[in-house]
């Protein structure tokens, strides 16, 4: 067992095992640091940057940075929150996120973060990219309009041999996450459910699931994101 170390988040003294990533260590101490691309049990990549904190004057992603003894972490400050809010806004404007007709609304982590950071309207111009919808799988729909390329589906949905069923395609502005042409054929209803659950937004939808969950019963209908962590 690793040794317990002490560190501080926004001045609050915390304890965690040495080597624990900051986001997880914060969680263990009842402090919520927002995440989008991070998934428990999967090696973090720091792709979305929403979990950015400041350590010794440097901006670091807390999902990839382990806590160390005596570390001073700035998280819930005006500067950091403003940065996170701008990341949420950039994610909104770089895709086509129309919450009113999206079945993930109420369960969407991006939408929930928009509410969490009180985003009224993005400060950045909408990109309105031309994106497609791949509905060719019998079990799921991949809506590129809503994909934030967090890679959670790539990391979470794998075949028996551990090979990812989702993959990147193209480069630069044309980069998109797609169902792998060959491995994707192994998609099952169960894996489709897992993929939809892994997707933090409404980019992966299990077919014909629709709006079966009524308003009021959805994940973020009655409590904001992070409520399960913050004490």
């Amino acid at each position: 067992m690793s040794e317990l170390i002490k560190f501080r988040i926004d001045g609050t003294e915390c304890m965690a095992e040495s080597g624990t990533y900051i986001v997880e260590a914060a969680r263990q101490n009842g402090i919520y640091i927002p995440t989008l691309c991070n998934m428990p049990g999967v090696k973090p990549k720091g792709a979305c940057r929403i979990c950015t904190v400041r350590i010794n004057g440097r901006m670091m992603t807390s999902c990839t940075t382990p806590v160390t003894q005596g570390m001073e972490i700035e998280s819930n400050s005006e500067t950091i929150n403003e940065l996170r809010k701008s990341i949420v806004e950039l994610l909104f404007v770089s895709g086509n996120h129309f919450c009113p007709a999206c079945e993930k609304s109420g369960n969407c982590e991006l939408q929930a973060l928009g509410y969490y950071y009180q985003m009224m309207v993005p400060r950045f111009p909408y990109d309105f990219p031309q994106k497609g919808v791949d509905a060719s799988s019998p079990y799921l729909i991949k809506d590129q309009n809503r994909c934030i390329m967090c890679k959670r589906c790539i990391k979470a949905v794998r075949d028996d041999q551990g090979r990812p069923l989702f993959a990147f395609r193209n480069r630069g502005n044309h980069l998109e996450v797609v169902l792998d042409e060959e491995l994707g054929k192994q998609m099952t209803p169960e894996l489709a459910e897992a993929a939809m659950a892994a997707c933090p937004v409404g980019s992966i939808l299990v077919k014909e699931k629709g709006f079966a969950q009524p308003i009021g019963k959805r994940k973020f209908d009655n409590k904001p994101i992070g409520s399960d962590v913050a004490v």
């Binding site: 014909e208 629709g210 709006f211 079966a212 009524p214 009021g216």
Partner: protein, 484 residues
């Protein structure tokens, strides 16, 4: 120098109305047109979306009657998921949807009468525009204003309980509904503190109707003389000919009551109804195919529904229906302003149906959805508050919508609204070179009888963005009034 005034396209229902009136040198009205300068892209941008999104997406057409679009789309998708048309749902599925729909009717009709139309009756068509609005009613007749507000609130609460939100909910899903009511919710609606309970709503709906009837009897010449012309009438009716706002077969009668569309299955509506495009309006002109463009146009809405149905299946509304039918000797009623009378009878009916449904244990059932063999195409119709609403979708093998056709109530009423405007214009503007505010409001009143979405609805009350242009036969503008 004369000029042509153009208003840029605006969104679907909060639309700007533009009226042009053509007059010859002797100041006779030769033509009147109500231009709907709106552009709706829903039929196009729903293409490519998964079909189950349609009920939630297309309801954004409207902020006043989104439930109608929500349910019409869901009914079309019932056909697509193999749940059949109308009668294929579970009892809970169908009754929850009906409750949502009648709640919608109740709030929308209350909104129309109390907020939008009553000021004209209370203060007169040419009354002071500063007080000819709901605020004026609140100041001069506060109990009536409260009644209007609370009736609307009750309907909205019914929608919230059935759809999840008062506006733009998600309750209806292909093949059924996503929730039922709890005992606590039912008790709240049935036994809630006054005035928010079903019994009070029935009583208030009756009072509102009595209010209009007394106004009517005192102002019979005005009501009967305002835009009265023969027309066909179309609506859904139940299999036994009863008024049914949620489901039925398509029936049309002519001005004399002769059946001209005999209770057809609406899945086949394209065999019977066509839409004509005219260059001066974004809104199409539907007509009954077998009668042609000239004779096949029809009215929809409260007036039409009470002309096509044989009876109303709730006792208080049926008693009122019998009095109402007696006014025209049982023949179809073609008086435009009787639309308000018919609307209030429907409001009473809606209150009675809501109360009955709340007392039905099926409303708390847990068998919510049914599905069968998937189909590629489906048509869904409901009677929206303003009239028959058509939704028609076709999907591909990947479950994406490839075709959508919507014929909304306002579109169905396009020709009769134009005729109403023309008749009012002829009556009040012939020989006049100057347009008064009273004249403009008379035109509004004619439009308002059909569809509050066009009159002002979500705009500031009493500030309908209406433009009236008087043009002579050389296309020179004689006078123009713009009212924001």
């Amino acid at each position: 120098m004369s000029k042509k005034i153009t208003i840029e396209p605006v969104t679907r229902v909060e639309g700007h109305g533009k009226v042009t009136i053509l007059m010859d040198d002797k100041l006779n009205v030769t033509q009147s047109r109500l231009h709907i300068v709106e552009f709706r892209g829903f039929e196009r941008f729903v293409q490519g979306r998964p079909y189950w999104e349609a009920p939630v997406l297309v309801q954004r057409l409207c902020g006043i009657c989104p439930v109608s679009h929500h349910l019409a789309a869901a009914k079309a998708l019932d056909v697509i998921v193999g749940a059949g048309t109308g009668k294929g749902l579970t009892p809970t599925g169908e009754k929850m949807r009906r409750l949502m729909h009648y709640g919608q009717f109740f709030q929308s009709h209350a909104l129309h009468f109390f907020h939008l139309s009553a000021p004209d009756f209370l203060f007169g068509i040419d009354g002071d525009p500063a007080i000819r609005n709901i605020i004026g009613i609140a100041l001069t007749n506060p109990s009536l204003a409260v009644q209007g507000v609370m009736m609307r609130k009750f309907g909205q609460e019914i929608i919230r309980a059935t759809a999840g939100k008062k506006i733009h909910g998600t309750g209806a899903i292909p093949g059924g509904i996503n929730k039922s009511l709890s005992q606590a919710e039912v008790d709240e609606f049935l036994k809630g503190a006054d005035p928010l309970n079903a019994d009070k709503m029935v009583a208030w709906a009756q009072e509102a109707l009595d209010f209009f009837k007394s106004y009517y009897h005192a102002n019979k010449d005005f009501i009967d003389g305002f835009a009265h012309f023969p027309s066909n009438h179309l609506s859904l009716v139940r299999d036994d000919g009863a008024l049914d706002l949620y489901h039925g077969r398509l029936r049309a009668v002519d001005a004399e009551g002769k059946r001209i569309l005999n209770d057809i299955d609406y899945q086949e509506y394209t065999n019977y109804i066509e839409e004509e495009v005219r260059h001066w309006s974004y809104m199409k002109f539907p007509y009954l195919k077998h009668l042609g463009k000239e004779k096949g146009w029809y009215r929809v809405g409260p007036l039409a529904r009470l002309n096509t149905c044989d009876f109303i299946p709730s006792p208080l509304a049926q008693a009122e229906f019998e009095q109402y039918k007696a006014l025209t000797g049982g023949k179809p009623n073609n008086y435009c302003l009787h639309m308000h009378y018919a609307r209030l009878i429907e409001t009473l009916h809606a209150a009675e149906v809501i109360r009955d449904l709340l007392n039905d244990p099926d409303i708390m059932g847990d068998n919510l959805v049914t599905k069968g063999t998937k189909q590629a195409e489906g048509v869904g119709l409901v009677e929206a508050p303003r009239g028959t609403l058509f939704h028609h979708y076709r999907i591909n093998e990947d479950d994406q919508i490839v075709m959508a056709n919507l014929i909304v109530s306002t579109t169905n009423n396009n020709e009769p609204m134009n005729r109403s405007v023309n008749q009012v214009a002829n009556k009040i503007m012939t020989g006049k070179e100057v347009i008064t505010e009273g004249m403009m409001n008379a035109v509004e009143v004619a439009i308002r009888a059909y569809d509050p979405c066009l009159s002002c609805a979500t705009h500031a009350l009493g500030k309908m963005p209406l433009e009236i242009t008087l043009v002579n036969e050389r296309n020179e503008v004689i006078d123009r009034k713009l009212k924001h």
